[in-house]
Amino acid sequence: MSKPKLAVWKFASCDGCQLSLLDCEDELLDIVGAIDIAYFPEATRAELPGPYDVSLVEGSVTTPHDAARIQEIRKLSGTLITIGACATAGGIQALRNWADVDDFLSIVYAHPEYLDTLETSTPIADHVPVDFELRGCPISKVQLIEVISAFVQKRKPNVPGHSVCVECKLRGTSCVMVASAIPCLGPVTQAGCGAICPAFDRGCYGCFGPAESPNVIALGDWWKSLGIEDDDLVRALRTFNSYAPEFKEASATYER
């Protein structure tokens, strides 16, 4: 049986999620034993031509060029898996979706006329069908290995859609919102990080995006009872996953 061919693609992103794959030091040999890394410019200059059995796509679509490129990648890919908040929700750069891009361009670039960019930063799934979305900013390498293993073994990955609160309780962390009145997005955020922030006495920032059944407005009402203002709620919801539908809609209701 020949090994499946893997490609890793980059769109608008910080490369952090791709680095999670390289960060799998202990498991990297096993991964290379089970799949052929056919295209991964971040890691190797060797390039095998497509088609690819599985593509990992990092980053969001922010330029007309990328909007066309993702169509080609979809055609070349058997299974297409998006990785990280940029690819699954538009990323931090989706903050441009609430602003005028031309304003940014004139401030940041000496010659904005050289740029050809879109008004919005959008997730890959807005452009092509996606087979699996792996959340996180950045993704968890444990979950990445699980998704790759599941693909190789033709099974469903163990990537639950429940809240970060479940991970707090599994690790025995006491709730920072209940015990210290620290605003926490954990109840509406998907698990995957292992509840790192609450374990260090911080509220969850929502890096993994909306959980499977998020009641953001009810959590927002509770935050307000803790003294949090509408402006702060908008800011809390507009970070890594601002353009994820549930966070986007809720943040709009707090905007005046």
Binding site: E27, D30, I31, G33, A34, I145, E146, I148, S149, V152, Q153, R155, N158, P160, G161, H162, S163, C165, V166, K169, L170, R171, G172, S174, C175, V176, M177, V178, A179, S180, A181, C184, G186, P187, V188, D201, A211, E212, S213, P214, N215, A218, L219, D221, W222
Partner: protein, 375 residues
């Protein structure tokens, strides 16, 4: 072996209890202050207890504050429950080895340890009795639970304060420890005294008690104990009327109040995970990339997750209304059909640790208003 049934032990001598248990080979677990909460962790000395602390609890709120004395047990229950030790959040059920195409299934070895739980409250003893019925008593013995439970030694505490979300008195599970303890103590503390009135609940408890220094307890000591627990019972933060609760919940299946709770509920699952009786779990199978080694693990799950009611790739209980109704109905009604008891012991954890303060006692009262309890 000689045993004692009762004893009054002075505060200075209480440390001997922990030493005795540790020397007998127990892993001693007890309440201890960690950051902003009191949790259950391994302890090795009296100083590990949250001396002089108490907890102020309400829906969605828990605060540790200083007492004006040096009580050792002057607080109630926190975010942890003893189920973390008997029914751990994760446990390996099987490892699977692929040896030249032949699959070899190996269950884990029984752990070589016995737990001693110090400071277990009446509601928590009642919760363990309920989980015993679930894991050991329904014809099928759960090996993981049975292994962790084997040889358990419990030192109960009769509560001298009630928490803001406690309602054991109305659930008839506390505040006095009723059964299931090897030893039970009541802390007696005023300007002139600081001692513990012990009673043994088993031969094992009597043997340990015999080795503790102290005097026999008198009528006056027991009168003091009764006064303390009566006072606690009179100061419960919450209450629940359990008469006909099963019938009322069944009758009000379509109450509009279920939707009102669902508007506030986050489906975050905290209530079920902190509950000392909730026992639901899922299994996760994983395998190494080369498929040489596999593992089946059990982890806590909750009726508030979508996967939990997933059948053929779709959740049966899709709405938050359906999930909250499932939880409360199981706790108070279907649990009775299944296990001959209510599934709630009144510890109040689900109220305190619900991040938005949803309160089982308020919700059940609101849901049943249409079928008033006959006087």
């Amino acid at each position: 072996m000689t045993t004692s049934q009762t004893k009054v032990v002075e505060r200075v001598d209480l440390g001997i209890l922990i030493d005795l248990l540790a020397d007998s080979g127990y892993d001693v677990i007890g309440p201890t202050k960690q950051d902003q909460t009191i949790v259950y962790r391994p302890i090795s000395a009296i100083d590990d207890l949250p001396i002089g602390w108490t907890d102020v609890q309400d829906g969605g709120s828990y605060r540790l504050v200083r007492r004006d004395d040096s009580a050792l047990f002057g607080y109630v229950v926190g975010p942890h429950s003893w189920k973390s030790y008997l029914f751990p959040p994760r446990s390996v059920l099987l490892t699977i080895e692929n040896v030249d195409g032949e699959l070899i299934f190996t269950p884990p070895d029984a752990p070589d340890r016995r737990y001693a739980f110090i400071g277990i409250r009446a509601c928590e003893l009642a919760a363990i009795a309920i989980q015993d019925r679930v894991f050991l008593g329904s014809g099928q013995v759960d090996t993981t639970y049975a292994n962790n439970r084997a040889g358990l030694f419990t030192v109960g505490v009769n509560c001298a304060v009630a928490g803001g979300t406690c309602f054991c008195a109305s659930m008839k599970t506390g505040p006095r420890c009723l059964a299931g303890y090897d030893l039970v103590l009541t802390e007696v503390l005023d300007e002139s005294t600081h001692h513990f009135v012990f009673e043994a609940g088993s031969d094992a408890g009597g043997e340990v008690l015999h080795q503790l220094p102290g005097r026999d307890a008198t009528e006056a000591d027991f009168a003091r104990v009764a006064a303390i627990v009566d006072d606690t019972a009179a100061h419960m933060g919450r209450s629940m009327d359990t008469r006909r609760v099963r019938e009322d919940i069944y009758t009000n299946r379509d109450s509009a109040h279920w939707d009102r709770v669902a508007e506030r509920c986050l489906s975050c699952a905290n209530c079920t995970l902190v509950c000392p009786t909730c026992f639901c779990s899922t299994t996760e199978d994983t395998a190494s990339l080369d498929a040489a080694l596999g593992q089946r693990e059990r982890r806590w799950d909750s009726c508030f997750t979508l996967d939990f009611s997933g059948l053929h790739g779709h959740p049966v209980r899709e709405t938050p209304t359906a999930r909250y109704r499932q939880w409360l109905t199981h706790k108070l009604a279907t649990w009775q059909d299944q296990f001959d008891s209510i599934g709630c012991v009144g510890c109040g954890r689900c109220i305190t640790w619900c991040p938005v303060g949803i309160d089982i006692t308020h919700e059940v009262a609101a849901i049943r208003t249409r079928s008033e309890v006959p006087a």
